[in-house]
Structure formats: structure tokens, C-alpha cells
Symmetry: C2
Subunit: 267 residues, 2 copies
């Protein structure tokens, strides 16, 4: 049997502690190629770089692990890996992370970590976004590494229905303090933003985004937010058909549906 090939990326950049933790997870399952952003890319969502040239740089290579930095977004890194660097090779699994900070609830939409994981799943490769609910420089990744290995082991243990993309969020704590894994749905919530407002050294007013997450359904115990707040590792499978089928029916009072059959000329 050929050795497995695992692609690793993240949004915090190639030198982050979380990338090293993700490589540790991946290394126990096969050969690892990491292509990660040159600079921090938190909050970059599924952005792609259209109007700038991008530079690829080999950072290091050691037994079974190669690390590249790429000067674009997390999604650019994934495209670079699948469409150029590893073109023609079979990539068995992709890990994005381990992110410094959680990506539960609506954060899945803003997150560069999850943008990359979703992109990986477009290539028919099982993709796992791993995030730790701790932004600190001294964050303890042990539990995230342990649970990451467990989840990858489960996925690689048998056939997988594709596409598969998982949003995995790990609470703060030592491995023995966590209460296990829970399958969840994405919590409904939103960010109540504030703009921090100040003057720069030249007297020009500037704004800096800040805010707090508001959970619209704190009582619901089937969401990722609930699991995370209650000591569980939250696993949300992610899909990308954004069609709002309920609104599609509502809007039928205004417009004909393309699904209604043969087109006719109608204004």
C-alpha cells in the first residue's frame, strides 16, 4: 500500500504554532506537504487573489514533511497545492489549522481556516478544519492534536462519502478535561460590531473593527456553540449549496421557477 499523502494549510501563516500542531496530527497518517500563507490571513474567508502575482517559497523539508509558504490567501494555498505543486498526485486528506481561535457558528463564513477547508473539499478530498478556542500565544494544543488524530483516524478507517468537509472546534482544556466529541449543526448567531475609533499620528480618524458574538439560540443543545461551551469537541459537517429553498418557494409569487419545466418567453 502506498503511503498516504496529507495536505496541510492554515490561515495564521506558515510559522504559526497551530500549523506545527496540524503537521503533527497529519504526520501520524502519512507523508505531509504543507502550503501555508506567508502572512497571517485570519478573517479572509474564501477570498482568492485575482490582481496580484504570488510567490511560492520552500521553507523546509525533513523526513516525510515539506513546508512551503505562499504569498496569497488560504484558498490560494489550496489551489496552489492541488493545481500545481501536487498536481497528478492523490491527496488522501486535507487539514486546515489548527486555528488560534474557534470557528464555530457564523464564523465558518469569515474564517480563512474554513475557507481553505471548503476549497479542499471542492477537489473531492476529505477536508477537516481544526480550530482551538484559544487565541493566546501560549495556547495548549495537546487536546486539539489528540482529537484531531482521533477524527482523522476515523475518517481514514473506511470509505467516505464525498464531498466531506468538517468544521471541528476544540474547547480549551487538557485532553482529560474534555467530554468527548459531539456532532452538531451550525449555531445561529451574529456579531454585534463596534468600531474602535481613534486618530492616527497625522490626525486622521481611523476605525478598527471589534465586536462580540451574540448567540441567538443559547438554549439549543444541538449546536456547535453549545458543545464548545459545554466542554465537547464540536464537529459540524459543512456543505456549500447556499440556495435558500424555503425562499425559493416564497418568491414563487413573483417569478416563475426555472424548475417549472420548459422555458417560455416571459417578461
Amino acid at each position: 500500500m502506498n503511503e498516504r499523502l496529507i495536505l496541510v494549510t492554515n490561515d495564521d501563516g506558515y510559522a504559526s504554532k497551530g500549523l506545527a500542531a496540524a503537521i503533527e496530527v497529519a504526520r501520524s497518517f502519512g507523508r505531509v506537504v504543507a502550503v501555508a500563507p506567508e502572512t497571517p490571513q485570519s478573517g479572509m474567508s474564501q477570498a482568492i487573489t485575482m490582481y496580484n502575482p504570488l510567490y511560492l517559497r520552500k521553507v523546509r523539508a525533513e523526513e516525510g514533511v515539506e513546508v512551503y509558504s505562499f504569498s496569497g490567501t488560504p484558498v490560494d494555498c489550496v489551489k496552489m497545492a492541488f493545481d500545481y505543486l501536487l498536481r497528478g498526485e492523490r491527496i488522501d486528506l486535507m487539514i486546515s489549522g489548527i486555528n488560534h481561535g474557534s470557528n464555530s457558528a457564523v464564523n465558518v463564513l469569515y474564517s480563512g481556516t474554513m475557507g481553505a477547508a471548503i476549497e479542499g473539499s471542492f477537489y473531492n478530498c476529505p477536508a477537516v478544519g481544526l480550530s482551538l478556542d484559544d487565541h493566546g500565544a501560549d495556547a495548549d494544543f495537546d487536546a486539539a492534536v489528540l482529537y484531531g488524530k482521533r477524527i482523522l483516524g476515523d475518517l481514514l478507517s473506511g470509505p467516505i462519502t464525498l464531498p466531506l468537509c468538517l468544521n471541528v472546534n476544540v474547547p480549551v482544556g487538557r485532553p482529560e478535561e474534555l467530554r468527548g466529541i459531539r456532532l452538531c449543526r451550525q449555531n445561529r448567531g451574529f456579531w454585534r460590531e463596534e468600531f474602535f475609533r481613534h486618530e492616527d499620528p497625522r490626525g486622521r480618524e481611523y476605525f478598527w473593527l471589534t465586536g462580540a458574538f451574540v448567540n441567538r439560540e443559547p438554549e439549543a443543545c444541538d449546536t456547535d456553540e453549545w458543545a464548545l461551551r459545554n466542554g465537547y469537541v464540536a464537529v459540524v459537517p459543512v456543505q456549500t449549496d447556499l440556495t435558500d429553498y424555503a425562499q425559493l418557494r416564497n418568491l414563487g409569487r413573483f417569478y416563475p421557477s426555472a424548475a417549472d419545466g420548459e422555458p417560455e418567453t416571459r417578461k
Copy 2:
């Protein structure tokens, strides 16, 4: 009755022709405030700026129309409008666009135009992303303006179920050449990328993303791609629960579901 307030943004920047077209659409329904990016932000998805200060600049004000530029992403512009500039005011509707280029199918995920529209819908404001399937500098926006007015008129004609976010894509052509409006679902497809590879003036190799969209279901006549290719204005309502409920059931063989009821200690 108070005059309506319409927020306008885009991803091509405050000076683009498409923004002027969107303002023309909005202007026929009320007072317009536009907050658009200082620089082009195509492909920025739902990215937010976390690590930089942002500058707001009033570009112009005339009867019923104010235009601001903001040095962030499209989503930053929306947050600036709702959370600072227009805080406390009721915004009746938001338009993002008119984009130079279509945002059908999976492009909804990469598009800064649609990132902004989705963000607007988070504020319980009906939000419409408008895109024209033409990247050219001399693109003819007449049909997009006409259909934009028609769709806004319909939405504002009665009660709306919220949240509501529409992804509207208009084909190339004179208004009289288009075949009308169709409600559609998001087409399944992907981008087959190529990296254009070259050397910069200093001999360093660089990459530039390029590619072609591949429609995985060209025969399906209920998708936005089909409608657009067949001369219809494609309307896809968009939602943001990315939970993959089918995979949630599949993965039940590995992990307990948070929905299964009272938590128990389980590793």
C-alpha cells in the same frame, strides 16, 4: 410615510461604473447612502479586516445620494454602514453591485459582492446582490438597471420574510433581448485552475491564478448557470446555514449527536 433608506455597496470600488448603476436603481426607491471599498475587492468573499485600521472618506453628496469610500473589504463597508454610519436608522434594503462579471454557481462563495449581500442580510435587512455577466469596461448596464428596479419594486411592494438575500445575475444583452426572470438553485460546478507562471524583473518566479469554470450539471435547467446561459435573469435566494445534514447522519456511526438529548460523559 418616511422616505425609504437604501444602502448600496459593491466590490469593484466606489468609482466603478457598476456602483453608479446600482445607485441609479436604488435612487428610484428612496434616499441612498453608498459605502463602497476604496480599492477593487473582487474575489474577497466574506473577508473582514482584523489587523489594520480603516479609513472612511466622504466622496460626494448630492440630492438624496451620499457616497463614502472605506479602505476595507466589502463586508467591512457593510459593517461600517450598519454599525456606525447609519446606526439607529432603519435601512429598508441593501444592494451590492452592480458587479462587473457574474456571480452564479460556486462564485457566490468567492464573490465580494455576494459576501457583502450576505452580510447585509445578517442585519435583518433584505439584501440583493446584482451582477452583470460582462467584465468589459464598456459593459452595458441598462438591462441590469431595469431588472434591478423591477426586483426591488417587487420586494418593496409588500411584506418580506426575513432573512432574505438574493443573488441576481443578469446576462449580456439589451433589455428587450432578455427572456425574463427565473428563480433558480445554485449550480454545482467548480473552477479548474491554472497558474500562469513567469519570472518577475528580478528573476523571481511568480504565479498568477487563472482558470475556467466547469459546470458539473450542464443539462439541469433549474440552475442559475442554465438560466444565465439561456438569456434569463437568474435569481437565487441565499442562506447561510452551511450544516451538511446528510453528512450529519452519515457520521452518526462515529460520534454521538449533540441533538441526542442530555449530554453524558463520553470519550
